[in-house]
Amino acid sequence: MRDQLKSLFAVLLIGVLAGCSTTGGDKSATGEAAVEDRSTTTEGGAVSTGVAGSGSFAGYSLDDPSSPLSRRVIYFEYDSSNVGAADQDLLSAHAAYLAGNPGQTVTLEGHGDERGSREYNIGLGDRRGQAVRRILELHGVAPHQVNTVSYGEEKPAAEGHHDVAWRLNRRVEIVYTGR
């Protein structure tokens, strides 16, 4: 049984990595990756301790659309980086997965709405990313597994100059990046 679980886990992991390499290929197609690969070497190249899960692997799959892990966006109030109670549960599911998969890394992309000054919004996006990072680490995720980047108001999820769009844009996106 234990062995079966282990091989199932290995399959899952391979699936995850394969998924990642596709997005990597996509990057070079759009042309950004050809530029330079520093980000992955600085953050991702750090460690790869034991592959098999030693932590509390929750058994969710990243690719299963019904898994809580398929939800990868956390929303925020205006000028706030507080994570709501429902999102705390979501983050603990992601944390359990990451703690159980120490080779897996995520980038937390922090965003803000368009109002006010652009660089201050970069600050707000950074603070949101850090708030999510702290929660993940509190749940056992190793610091080297989490990278943050703030895009401020530069990459809105929704266009438009109204409350509906602004609510969708104040967010942290959890992006699984592999190694």
Binding site: V35, S117, E119, Y120, E154, H161
Partner: protein, 432 residues
């Protein structure tokens, strides 16, 4: 490593393709009491049918864009004198023009020209100034702007800012992908040149005080990094690529240091960086967001945005560090400051009642004046003579630039035929 950067630059600029579209400037609110002036089309002596540039039209457009002058429309010009003997002052007095500009362009040889002009006081019937400049074809617009500067200085007593440039960021959709371009153009919108084109966001262009270099933030490596780039050669240098934020670059007035925002220690703080050694000095230490540093023109202090009081406000700190003093008290949101060239005023984004507008604070008196009436105005930048503020605003669903005189009486809009334009930064005076 150097080679890699070269290759990157090449890659990023390729695909910019055809010459970028120029900004169109329209005056949206004129100024009462602007001085009437007549600028007569310049005479031409040369092999071609006409002069390669319409010098009088460039001067006329410069003067009207300043908000201080109302040039007479061409159709109202009663005569077309090109030298002093032909000027009949009584004709111009009848039109109530205070001043008259005439001139000539003469071809002097292979690709060389002489541009000569005279400015007259119509009522006293005498010449105020007159100059002659040699110019190559490529220099003609610059000479015209220089003449505008001389006229402006003579008649207003203040320095003109016509021979300056603006940097800005444009965005366009290319299919599913967004394309970001950092450009530099003459302050009248002409001659736009691409500094960098990227598939990832470009932000926060900042001029060096000699106007020769630009610092900016690029996300081309999927993380924020600060580069400095020589405008003429295109050579660039990555100066900051720390963990987290690398943002809000601002050159010190002496050009030796860059103020910037880093969050490598867990939250955004203001640093200064020595550009020769890349050594960092941390200026702030606070759990709040500290960002958007702006140097005072004397280089002794910086104003920055911080929400240490609960909401973003402006604070001032010595360039050597120490205690920060709060500068803004009016309104719930004040951010993104820019110093006036004389160091007496601060332009900022001022949020009140759900609207974000450009306001100017008189530092000594503490008087705050809201200059604009948009909903999402941002990125104010003073002209180097301190007379105008350029900023980003929205119209319909498009991002455009606008400029407003410091007294709020004169307004203009700078827009592209297609696409969005944002983050304007007005250059300092050119250093030759």
């Amino acid at each position: 490593m150097r080679m890699i950067f070269r290759a990157v630059l090449l890659y990023l600029t390729i695909g910019a393709g055809a010459a970028p579209a120029a900004l169109t400037i329209e005056i949206t609110q004129g100024m009462e009491g602007a001085m009437p002036i007549a600028v007569v089309p310049f005479g031409w002596t040369g092999s071609a049918a006409g002069a390669p540039e319409n010098i009088a039209a460039i001067i006329s457009s410069d003067l009207s864009r300043s908000g201080r002058f109302t040039p007479l429309p061409d159709r109202d010009l009663v005569a077309h004198p090109t030298d002093a003997e032909q000027v009949q002052f009584h004709n111009w007095r009848m039109l109530n023009v205070d001043n008259l500009v005439i001139g000539q362009v003469t071809e002097t040889g292979a690709g060389g020209y002489t541009v000569q002009f005279q400015l007259f006081d119509v009522f006293r019937g005498k010449q105020l100034i007159g100059f002659s400049f040699p110019a190559s074809h490529a220099d003609l617009r610059r000479v015209a702007h220089h003449i505008s500067d001389l006229i402006y200085k003579e008649l207003t007593g203040e320095d003109g800012a016509f021979n300056t440039r603006i940097a800005y960021v444009t965005t366009a959709n290319r299919g599913e992908q967004k394309s970001y371009t950092l450009l530099v153009a003459d302050s009248d919108g002409y001659n736009p040149q691409t500094i960098l084109n990227s598939g990832q966001p470009l932000m926060s262009p900042a001029w060096s005080s000699d106007g020769k270099r630009i610092a900016y933030v690029s996300f081309e490596n999927k993380t924020a990094e600060i580069y400095t780039q020589d405008i003429a050669s295109g050579a660039r240098r990555k100066v900051a690529s720390f963990k987290g934020i690398n943002g809000a670059p601002a050159w010190s007035p002496d050009g030796r240091r860059l103020a910037l925002t880093l969050s490598q220690d867990g939250n955004p703080e203001i640093y200064t960086m020595d550009l020769a050694s890349l050594a960092l000095k941390r200026l702030t230490s606070n759990a709040a967001i500290d960002t958007e540093p702006a140097w005072s023109p004397d280089g002794r202090s910086l104003v920055f945005t911080s929400d240490r009081g609960g909401a973003p406000q402006l604070y001032r700190i010595a360039a050597s560090g120490g205690q920060a003093q709060r500068v803004t008290f009016e309104g719930k949101y004040n951010a993104g400051a820019d110093f006036s060239p004389d160091g007496r005023k601060l332009a900022m984004v001022h949020g009140e009642g759900g609207a974000y507008r450009i306001a100017v604070l008189d530092i000594e008196t503490g008087l705050l004046r809201v200059l604009t009436d948009g909903q999402l105005d941002e990125s104010p930048s003073f002209s180097p003579n301190g007379s105008m503020i350029i900023y980003a605003t929205g119209t319909g669903n498009r991002e455009v630039l606008a400029a407003v005189s410091v007294d709020g009486r004169f307004r203009q809009r700078l827009s592209l035929q297609a696409g969005n334009v944002r983050e304007p930064a007005w250059s300092p005076f050119a250093v030759d």
